[in-house]
């Protein structure tokens, strides 16, 4: 009994080695030799499901011909087994006494993988070939020997090879640490005990989640929503879900959602499964270390070739918009039924953008890629969180203003909460931010994807809808009174002195605004989170300004 528990502790932690940090997103994990997830350390939620999918792909491609050897390292960015081309996975098979016992895998975002725009994602692509270098699942090291020609080919096809090859070696290192710690366990306990322990671990994951599943409300729950557009036409796209919860099954069905789109808002089925796993974990047991057993009760239904189940050569570079809708639909369907676990709607979009230009001091080309923080939804007993990354991210850190200014040569004018209307409720939605960049180089180009531009975060239990995500360009030389607003800026030209204002959503409110406690509202006004005018308009309360 005790040995199993001890190994459980050791295994659950052996993958927690965030060697790569302050990158956009990363994840590290261990699987069994069959590709069952044993443990995963995450920087983001979006990769939950990617680690095991990749290993299964490696086994399918190389396993039968006995082509997996000690000292091999595999590399892949196949987005239909993952997210988008920017996320590069590196996998190392682990051998004990000349037998394959498992895999150490990590996946991390590279700042550029080539393609039609710097930073490799844009709302304007229409096929995968425009989005960068495709690396099918292949070896980059064989029997401990580096295949230099593979690395050379990669380096020749990406814009910042020095940075990305550093990330590659960091990924190899992270795997080495995970593999070494797994090896130590094999040395201590031996093959049979470890095999039994791994099977036990998966069963434990299943049992824990099964117990939680019994506590969930039973029945059929439905939600629908609208996505802004696909970046090529202005038409909104309908998405929907039907969630069915029984004593021992959790089934989600996305039938009826929009078909595969022209623009890069699509993603593959692996990403859909990862999205559902994330929200399923949030509903059942957020704290348990994830393993394959945790998801045995889960079933995901969706027809082929929808925006959730796109196929090659559909473009996928801004996949997160759609993937997060898959999570958010289930969230929306369940929030009022599980008020202690779920908030009202949050900013949803990663709000990632790419600013490419040159550094005004050094003249070097620079690519600034970053996600943005925004408002989370209110809960049944408290206001929403101010300035947090979307559910897609987790251990993701914003880039400090001082580092952005030094490295990219921009000037940031403000990084502050805003007071746009929206999110009012008995409990308020959390605040989004204004992040203003002044361009100091002669010309630059802006791309990005800010979903929920037209359809802001939803309120719950009578709370108001939040405010939208968007980008506003404030031109230095303009005579026009029309505001220049974007949800999906694509290669927008920026001149020196222009200001790019990135705006993120206020989260949805919870409960009727008229029920907000007077003391809370006074506090809001004192802190500048609500103006006296908004207090009168939305809360029907007269509160004197200080």
């Amino acid at each position: 009994m005790a040995i199993g528990d001890e190994m459980f502790e050791a295994m659950a932690r052996s993958s927690m080695s965030p060697i790569i940090y302050e990158v956009l997103d990363y994840s590290v994990g261990l699987t069994t030799k069959d590709g069952e997830l044993i443990a995963q350390g995450n920087g983001t939620t979006v990769f939950l499901g990617m680690i095991d999918a990749l290993v299964k792909e490696i086994i399918a491609k190389f396993g039968t011909a006995d082509a997996i050897q000690d000292g091999d390292v595999f590399i892949s960015n196949d987005p239909y087994f993952g997210t988008h081309l920017s996320d590069v996975a590196i996998a190392k098979p682990i051998f004990f006494e000349e037998q394959l016992v498992g895999f150490a895998v990590n996946k991390a975002h590279w700042v550029d993988v080539g393609g039609m725009v710097p930073g490799s994602f844009t709302p304007s692509s229409t096929e995968i070939y425009q989005e960068g270098l495709q690396i099918p699942t292949m070896k980059v090291m064989e029997g401990g020997r580096l295949l230099q020609s593979v690395l050379d080919l990669i380096a020749a096809n990406i814009r910042l090879p020095r940075d990305s090859l550093g990330d590659f070696w960091a990924g190899v290192a992270a795997n080495n640490v995970g593999a070494e710690r797994l090896m130590k366990l094999y040395e201590k306990y031996g093959l049979d005990a470890m095999d039994a322990a791994m099977a036990g671990l998966l069963d434990y994951g299943e049992a824990t989640i099964a117990a939680e599943l019994k506590k969930l409300p039973k029945g059929v729950f439905e939600a629908e929503d609208w996505m802004d557009d696909d970046g090529h036409s202005d038409d909104p796209l309908r998405v929907c879900v039907k969630v069915e919860i029984t004593e021992d099954r959790f089934t989600v069905d996305f039938t009826g959602s929009a078909p595969q789109a022209l623009g890069p808002i699509n993603h593959g089925r692996t990403a859909l499964v990862a999205a559902v796993r994330t929200i399923f974990k949030a509903l059942t047991n957020p704290q348990i270390s994830s393993n394959g057993g945790c998801f045995r009760a889960l079933e995901v239904i969706c027809p082929e070739r929808t925006i959730f189940t796109a196929e090659r050569p559909a473009p996928v570079s801004t996949y997160w918009e759609t993937m997060l809708y898959a999570e958010d639909l289930i969230w929306k369907a369940m929030s009022e039924h599980l008020p202690d676990r779920l908030t009202a709607g949050h900013l949803l979009s990663v709000c990632a953008f790419i600013l490419s230009g040159s550094h005004p001091e050094t003249g070097e080309d620079v690519i600034l890629v970053t996600p943005l923080v925004g408002g989370w939804g209110a809960m049944a007993n408290r206001d929403g969180l101010n300035g947090q990354f979307s559910v897609a991210d987790g251990e993701t850190y914003n880039i400090p203003v001082e580092i952005q200014e030094a490295r990219y040569g921009v000037r940031i004018k403000q990084y502050a909460f805003h007071n746009e209307d929206g999110g009012e409720g008995k409990y308020r939605g959390g605040k989004g931010v204004y992040l203003d960049y002044e361009m100091l180089c002669d010309s630059a180009s802006l791309g990005g994807s800010f979903g929920r531009f037209k359809f802001p975060p939803w309120g719950a239990a009578g709370g108001n809808t939040g405010s939208p995500n968007y980008v506003e360009l404030i031109r230095k030389d303009t005579s026009s009174n029309v505001r220049e607003l974007y949800g999906k800026p694509a290669q927008v030209k920026i001149q020196k002195g222009d200001i790019i204002r990135c705006v993120t959503a206020t989260g949805g409110g919870w409960g009727n605004p008229h029920e907000r406690a007077q003391a809370d509202l006074e506090n809001d006004i004192k802190n500048g989170f609500v103006t006296p005018e908004q207090a009168a308009r939305y809360y029907h309360q007269e509160v004197a300004a200080e």
């Binding site: 009994m1 005790a2 528990d5 001890e6 050791a10 932690r13 080695s17 060697i19 790569i20 940090y21 302050e22 995450n42 020095r162 940075d163 550093g166 070696w169 960091a170 190899v172 070494e180 710690r181 434990y204 994951g205 049992a207 824990t208 974990k281 949030a282 047991n285 957020p286 704290q287 348990i288 202690d340 676990r341 779920l342 908030t343 001091e361 923080v373 408290r382 969180l385 101010n386 300035g387 947090q388 990354f389 559910v391 991210d393 987790g394 251990e395 993701t396 850190y397 400090p400 203003v401 001082e402 200014e405 403000q414 990084y415 502050a416 909460f417 931010v433 203003d436 500048g528 989170f529």
Partner: protein, 680 residues
């Protein structure tokens, strides 16, 4: 005579080193007037204050004020447009799948975060001079709101402090008696959130720390202490009272730091420069790696940080250690899936383990050790109290029912899990950083260190275990082995190459000049001053840095290549790879020392007593995989240098229990430390 007092969470410890030997005493900690406990323990040890040459003091007053939220009401002044940086923080959510995640509240609410018009660029050039006339209104508001301390954090002040200094001067004119700290004075690193958080928490504890240090200084002086107290810092050094007052946050982790420093000093004396140090207390265990008799320092420190919480960063130099919620009081519990866990919840001192009989209903690691015979019931709680077995049996019954296992099996399981947790921490500081534990000795101290050390060393495969003399008050002794130390870090990003050697040398020289000026002003003796150089470096294009010790020789185009090799080696060890890429200097790090005349451990008296004379009896001990054996009991106090004891055995006194598994040999060295050779 040299005396150290260490204010801990439960006890205030005293260690006194004289020509004739070492005296120790313990007394209760007395929050919030911690100095009362200090005076009490001095009395208890019967110490004449005028006879003291050095009085070194470590205190939890700073961490206590932070964790209990009993600091000063603090106002913050920032660059216009950036008052929300403190609340936005880094936006991260470590508890990834918890959608009801709660973000830590800022220490300064929004209405007390005020902005001033001013701007520097990233090179420190003035874009807009500060509009100091805006301060009058801000200060009036702070006064009306009852603010007690002011923090100033302006963008890019790490490059150019002029604007912060100008604002600080004006605030002092407007409000001469308020506590005020500027960010550049305590943190020279980039990243505005981390620097702002550091200055806010510094200001928050400043009035309390100032008052405490003044009171300690006064009361000790009034009782005849002729020297000024020396204050323990988190960086493993001590500070003058003035130095500690100017940078109060530097005391935040002083307790754990002194134990690690003590281990390094002991290692130097007994010829064991490479150590993995482990301090097991009541609530947590802490571990650090010591290489060449030196601890490692980091500024990547956070309070209230764990796997689910982002915590609050404090960029102050702290001994690089890993702390886990695993101590003698850690509670054993069963989760929904039927798995046994230990910690991080602790029963603390009250109600304490079930065996205390003070209302504790949970089984703790201490109870499991008692059940297996490893703790001597006759020496329980220093021999002052018998274990409450009824309580222990009742608490075990609950676990027996949940797990369907016997008491002994469960107790063995608890110890294994507690050990696995500690092994994980020990690997984090060694294996995960590229060090092989086989090249190190394990040195264990604190109340629980001796009990677990041998089992941990077996798994970690360290060839040797050392239990230092007076291991239960080892942290206090460590303070007496510290020198005056002040760290200066400054972000100054530049290429580290032959072409830039001149600029790199200038960066170091400038910081050294500044460090010397500040250190002398704070009362460090000029004739004893010495400096060491470190650099945080990285490959251009990467984020993560590696700290490298550099010799204090001028950099030039010839020598810089050797220093670059140091970086490649350090990077390869920590991250397993090196790159053929340009190297960047990120932080210049200067350490100023002033050596204190320390007394080494005195040799233990040899009377010619035999091992048999220290033999007290025997009891049955469960050694888990090594079986259940009758173990001989030896009195630790009576042991003498050169004595050799072979397991199964236990060496113990009222505060320390050394469990020796069958076949293992323990030997006392000339100073009273116990060494285990793990081979065979």
């Amino acid at each position: 005579m040299r005396v150290a007092t260490d204010v801990g969470g439960t006890f205030t410890d005293l260690v006194c080193v004289e020509e004739t030997g070492i005296r120790i005493a313990k007394s209760d900690t007395t929050p919030p007037n911690f100095e009362q406990g200090v005076l009490k323990v001095v009395d208890k040890a019967d110490i004449e204050l005028p006879a003291i040459e050095d009085f070194v003091h470590g205190t939890t007053v700073v961490i206590n004020a932070l964790l209990s939220r009993r600091g000063a009401k603090t106002g913050l002044i920032t660059t216009r447009g950036f008052r929300d940086v403190l609340e936005i923080a880094r936006g991260n959510r470590p508890d990834l799948f918890n959608l009801a995640f709660d973000k830590p509240a800022p220490f300064v609410p929004r209405y007390l975060r005020q902005e001033i018009t001013e701007r520097l660029d990233y090179l420190g050039r003035v874009i807009e001079a500060p509009k100091l006339e805006e301060l009058a209104l801000i200060i009036d508001g702070f006064k009306a709101d009852g603010v007690e301390a002011v923090a100033i954090a302006l963008l890019h002040s790490y490059v150019n402090p002029d604007h912060e200094l100008a604002v600080e001067r004006r605030v002092r004119e407007l409000w001469p008696d308020v506590s005020i700290i500027s960010s550049h004075a305590i943190c020279g690193e980039w990243r505005e959130y981390e620097r702002t958080s550091t200055v806010v928490l510094s200001a928050y504890v400043h009035p309390i720390a100032k008052g405490y240090l003044a009171s300690l200084d006064d009361q000790m002086g009034a009782r005849g202490l002729s020297s000024k107290p020396l204050i323990m810092r988190s960086n493993g050094g001590v500070a003058t009272v003035d130095g500690a007052r100017n940078d109060p946050i530097s005391m935040v982790e002083s307790g754990p730091a002194s134990g690690m420093l003590g281990a390094a000093a002991l290692g130097r004396q007994i010829g064991e420069p490479n150590l993995i140090a482990l301090d097991i207390g009541g609530t947590t265990a802490k571990t650090a790696l010591i290489e060449d008799a030196a601890v490692k320092i980091t500024t990547n420190y956070k309070i209230e940080w764990d796997r689910a919480n982002p915590g609050y960063p404090i960029r102050t130099p702290v001994v690089d250690l890993v702390e886990i919620g695993n101590g003698g009081g850690s509670i054993a519990w069963v989760d929904d899936g039927g798995r046994l866990h230990v910690g991080p919840q602790s029963a603390g001192a009250l109600p304490g383990p079930a065996a205390y009989g003070r209302g504790g209903t949970n089984i703790t690691t201490t109870d499991a050790n008692l059940m297996l015979g490893r703790i001597n019931p006759a020496l329980f709680l220093g021999g002052l109290q018998k274990p409450n077995w009824d309580n222990v049996n009742a608490a075990f019954a609950a676990l027996e029912k949940e797990l369907g296992e016997s008491k002994d099996d469960i107790a063995r399981g608890i110890i294994r899990i507690a050990n696995a947790n500690m092994i994980n921490a020990l690997k984090l500081v060694s294996l995960n950083k590229g060090y092989d534990p086989r090249d190190f000795a394990l040195i264990a101290f604190g109340g629980g260190g001796a009990m677990h050390a041998v089992a941990l060393a077996e798994e970690l495969m360290t060839p040797k275990v050392i239990i230092p003399v007076n291991s239960s008050v080892f942290s206090a002794w460590g303070m007496l082995m510290c020198d005056l130390r002040r760290d200066f870090l400054k972000t100054d990003v530049k290429l580290f190459s032959p072409e830039t050697a001149g600029a790199v040398e200038t960066a170091f020289k400038d910081l050294e000049d500044h460090a010397r000026t500040v250190s002398l002003k704070e009362g460090m003796p000029e004739d004893k001053l010495r400096m060491e150089r470190f650099a945080d470096m990285r490959y251009a294009g990467q984020e993560h840095t590696v700290k490298v010790a550099l010799p204090c020789k001028a950099f030039d185009a010839q020598t810089i290549g050797q220093f670059a090799d140091e970086f490649h080696r350090a990077h390869k060890r920590e991250y397993t790879f090196e790159l053929d890429a340009p190297i960047e200097l990120v932080n210049v790090h200067i350490v100023v020392f002033a050596d204190i005349d320390k007394k080494p451990l005195p040799e233990r008296t040899v009377t010619g007593r035999t091992v048999d004379e220290t033999h007290k009896g025997a009891r049955i001990i469960d050694f888990d995989e090594a079986g259940i054996h009758e173990a001989h009991e030896y009195d630790l106090g009576g042991l003498e240098p050169g004595m050799l004891i072979t397991g199964p055995a236990v060496i113990e006194d009222a505060t320390t229990t050394l469990v020796i598994s069958p076949g293992k040999r323990a030997e006392m060295d000339a100073y009273g430390n116990i060494h285990f050779e793990m081979v065979g």
